[in-house]
Amino acid sequence: MTLLNTLYWPQARRLTCLTLILLVSACVFKPSSPNGLATPADIAKAKLIAGLAEQAQINKPIVPVSPATIEVDLQNDAVTILLDSAKAALLQGDLKSAQTILQRVQRIAPRDPNIYYKLASTHLDMKDYKLAENVALKGVSLAQGQDFQLRKFWLMIADIRMQSGDIIAAEKAEHTASRY
């Protein structure tokens, strides 16, 4: 039983409520009227705050609310080294090696959208359009909330679709990209 769970006990709730009310009242009961007495507005405010405080304890989320976007650790040296290495392979035209390295870095940082971007471009270079698009879509799903990334990915998807000959879908993707 965690500490938070104990707050479901009525006694604990009451105690917390009382403490909070006392603390909050101490902050809130700065009289706004010149003679130092609490006005009705003050009281209403105190009630609301105390009420909210109590409810915050009671309405502990059952399922954690998912974040608007996922933070990725950009300081990871291992990732940087491997991405550089992949870049070098790409410059030499060695797509296969680049893919191997990218899959190695994917295992280390599977939520970094940049990796999927690079991987998608290697598939695109190899003319594997279906896989390129799906890898890019995976990048999209991981980059939710990051407009810059989303725009990049949708532009790439447009490019992939264009190269594969599906003009209409490519235009749709471009339109999507323009939203960001």
Binding site: T2, L4, P10, R14, C17, L18, I21, I43, A46, K47, L48, A50, G51, L52, E54, Q55, A56, I58, N59, P61, I62, V63, P64, V65, S66, P67, A68, T69, I70, D73, N76, D77, A78, T80, I81, L82, K96, S97, Q99, T100, I101, Q103, R104, Q106, R107, I108, P110, R111, L119, K130, L131, N134, V135, L137, K138, V140, S141, L142, Q144, G145
Partner: protein
């Protein structure tokens, strides 16, 4: 005249005969000579394919505990010593681990052998340092060799070059088996006469007098019959061999050919393999007492088997040491310390080879699609897999411990319980552990791959996903009242809830979190069986599915691997992935032959899958799988589904965190009902495994078209942040409840204790 002619004739005949005989012998010799050379130079041995686990990556921030690293190093045969000075040694302390790696030639890069220090803080790797240069960011250890794919004659090989054999070992071998090896020309008359004398003295055959060359001939070219004819044949063949090849060549061939033991059906040939089989280390890392033992083993691997006949083995080893000492090859100190040393042979169960039969089974199946058996077992291929020995170890412990514990609790009613388990990486689709049964080292029926058991409630996410795709939202009210369906064959299908209760209304998300059958059955029928089947296919189920209503409650049989594929799609935000055991196959020199890269296809849209993921998390937090958080830390978010099939014959759990997905099945092979459910059986094994892993929480960003709204739990209507009994639930934009519930500090019909009423009055 006639007499002379007869004599002449007979003479001629004798000459003819001897001429013919000489001709035959010469032809025979020429042929033998050719045969010997061809075999020796050509492909001499059918080299089995080597199968490797994944190489452990060490980098700053990697979720690897000190204990996990120790497990990996043990599997690699590292010796834990106080001072780390050469490859194959390590030293572990609380905050750091010093390793002298062996190095490995990977296809894409060479990891060289080097001495590194790994620094820890808690369960995280904080720094990797090296004596000569600056900090390292990333390093790979050599991969554990987990097995091989052997030719039909079941011979295994670990080829070594002459320079990999320590000098001390060569000395010991020659001293005990063929003292005059470097002097003779294939046969040793001295050796033979010495042997004859010894045999005469003893009155029986005790010594062979064979040279190493003769032994090589015997092992290599001839069958193992001990007949005089064969013994005689050895002599010219040995001479021929020596005339063509150098001592070094012959010695090297000998080192790789000599028979040294038996592991079940598999013959152990060569010292490279024997070093691994008896000591779990490469030959080059062995010390004097071990080398002496191996040298002594040649004479009779079964007779001197160090595991079954330790006393005999010790005596033989010490004899070898004595001979070395007498020849001044070692001094008195070396001799004394070596003969007093323990045998040092490792237990067979701690060998990595043979420890993963279920995983190797999956590897073989995936390979067979691309490589014929012959090529697999004779070309020396190297197969790099995704097996994670650390995860496999933890999974095995969790499963076997849970089964024992359940047997203790439930006694006879559960005796003989079996299980299967699959663990994958939910982000990449790699299979990292496979358990085929409760006896994990036993190569038998592979339940993880081949058992097809009704999945019960594990099917429900597909039904609810279909509902979401058809416009239902998480608070849509479902009817959980009694349900029956008249079947075409005249029977009536009457499902029941597990608790045998029913409810008039239940919100959609609650029905899945609590796994109600009535609401699910009714929902599924109104959605259409074909649509649910389509969803199952998009989730990754490849097997043909019959559109029976009982499908909705999981009458369909699937293997744990198939279930893992289904849940993989849910964990990866709607992307179906093939589950891969193999990364890459190379030839014996390291050139890539084929690869099994990361592949995926989006089959479910982001928004729908997000809503399903919410419900699967609710299952673990508040639903049928909430017991997880009795042992799991609160901040490790996981999602999953319990499954209990009809008549409780199968106990299932499928669930995932951020970096691990696992499916557990428990049941009897003979389909007898169990006294456990998904929650009380498979879930326990799953939880036991997961809490031991270094987990990352499951997180998925809120997709653009999804919004989280405050909902009154009881009514499913819109509420507010500060209202009692409100929770945030995800909704597709435009598909949210419109009615708003009343919001108060307390609900009106709740009885209030006096103090609380007083508190309230304070503010009135």
């Amino acid at each position: 005249m006639k007499y002379l002619y007869a004599q002449f004739q007979s003479l001629k005949f004798a000459t003819k005969l001897s001429l013919a005989f000489l001709l035959l012998v010469s032809l025979g010799l020429i042929y033998t000579d050719y045969h010997i050379r061809q075999q020796f130079e050509g492909k001499r041995w059918a080299v089995p394919a080597k199968v490797y686990a994944r190489p452990l990556e060490l980098y700053v921030g990697s979720p690897l505990s000190s204990n996990d690293l120790k497990v990996e190093l043990t599997r690699l045969g590292y010796q834990f010593v106080p001072k780390v000075v050469k490859p194959g040694q390590a030293n572990i302390s609380k905050t750091k681990t010093i390793i002298y790696t062996r190095g490995f030639k990977f296809t894409d890069s060479l990891e060289k052998a080097q001495r590194i220090t790994i620094h820890y803080s808690g369960n995280q790797l904080t720094k990797i340092t090296q004596s000569q240069s600056e900090d390292l960011s990333l390093i790979r250890l050599e991969p554990v060799l987990i097995g091989g794919i052997y030719p039909l004659n079941n011979e295994d090989r670990e080829l070594i070059q002459l320079n990999e054999a320590p000098d001390a070992f060569i000395q010991a071998l020659i001293a005990i088996e063929d003292r005059g090896f470097y002097e003779h020309n294939g046969i040793s008359l001295r050796g033979i006469s010495r042997a004859m004398l010894a045999n005469l003295k003893a009155g029986r055959f005790i010594q062979g007098g064979s040279t190493l060359t003769q032994q090589l001939i015997k092992n290599f070219y001839l069958t193992s019959e001990r007949t005089l004819a064969r013994k005689l044949l050895e002599i010219p063949m040995a001479l021929l061999l020596e005339s063509h090849y150098s001592k070094a060549d012959i010695l090297e061939a000998y080192l790789n050919e000599v028979y040294l033991g038996q592991e079940g059906a598999r013959a152990i040939h060569g010292f490279g393999l024997a070093a691994q089989y008896y000591f779990a280390q490469p030959l080059s890392e062995l010390k004097l007492p071990h080398l002496a033992l191996l040298a002594g083993l040649v004479k009779g691997p079964s007779y001197y088997d160090p595991r079954r006949q330790p006393k005999r083995a010790e005596k033989r080893r010490n004899l070898v040491l004595k001979v070395l000492y007498e020849q001044d090859a070692i001094d008195i100190f070396q001799y004394d310390s070596a003969r007093l040393a323990p045998l040092g042979v490792v237990q067979q169960t701690s060998l990595s080879k043979g420890a993963y039969p279920a995983y190797l089974d999956l590897v073989r199946r995936q390979l067979r699609q691309d490589y014929p058996d012959e090529e697999l077992s004779s070309e020396g291929l190297r197969i790099f897999t995704n097996l994670n020995p650390i995860a496999q170890n933890k999974a095995e412990t969790a499963l076997t411990k849970t089964i024992s514990s359940l047997e203790k609790t439930h006694g006879k009613s559960i005796k003989g319980l079996q299980g299967g388990m699959i663990v994958t990486d939910p982000q990449t689709g790699e299979v990292i552990a496979v358990i085929g049964g409760r006896q994990t080292r036993y190569r038998g029926f592979n339940r993880a791959l081949d058992t097809q058991r009704p999945i019960g409630s594990l099917v429900k996410p597909a039904v609810y996903l279909t509902a979401i795709e058809q416009g239902y939202n998480l608070v849509t009210e479902l009817d959980d009242s009694p349900f029956e369906l008249d079947m075409p064959n005249g029977t009536t299908w009457q499902p029941e809830n597990f608790d045998l209760k029913s409810r008039d209304y239940v919100q959609l998300h609650q029905a899945l979190a609590h796994s109600y059958n009535l609401s699910t059955a009714r929902l599924g029928m109104s959605l259409g069986l074909d649509n649910v089947i389509d969803t199952l296919k998009r989730l990754g189920v490849e097997r043909p599915l019959a559109p029976y209503p009982s499908l909705l409650l999981g009458a369909q049989g699937l293997s744990p691997l198939e279930v893992a594929k289904m849940y993989q799609t849910m964990a990866s935000n709607g992307f179906q992935m093939p589950l891969r055991a193999i990364r890459r196959v190379t030839d014996s020199t390291g050139d890539e032959l084929s690869r099994y890269p990361f592949e995926l296809e989006q089959t479910i849209d982001n928004n729908s899958i997000h809503l399903l993921q919410y419900m699967l998390q609710e299952t673990t937090r508040a639903g049928t799988a909430r017991s997880i958080y009795d042992s799991m830390p609160e901040d490790i978010n996981v999602a999953g589904k319990t499954g209990t099939s009809d008549l409780q014959r199968d106990s299932w759990f499928a669930g995932f965190a951020g970096n691990r997905l696992a499916v557990v099945w428990l049941g009897h092979d003979n389909n007898m009902p169990l006294p456990i459910t998904g929650s009380s059986g498979a879930l326990r094994a799953w939880t036991s495994y997961m809490v031991n892993e270094t987990l990352e929480p499951f997180i998925a960003a809120t997709p653009e078209d999804v919004e989280y709204l405050w909902i009154d739990q009881q009514t499913g209507m819109l509420s507010d942040k500060g209202c009692f009994g409100a929770q945030q639930l995800p909704f597709l934009s435009g598909n949210s409840p419109t009615e708003r519930s009343e919001c108060g500090i307390r609900k009106k019909n709740d009885a209030m204790p006096a103090v609380d009423r007083w508190i309230n009055r304070l503010f009135e």
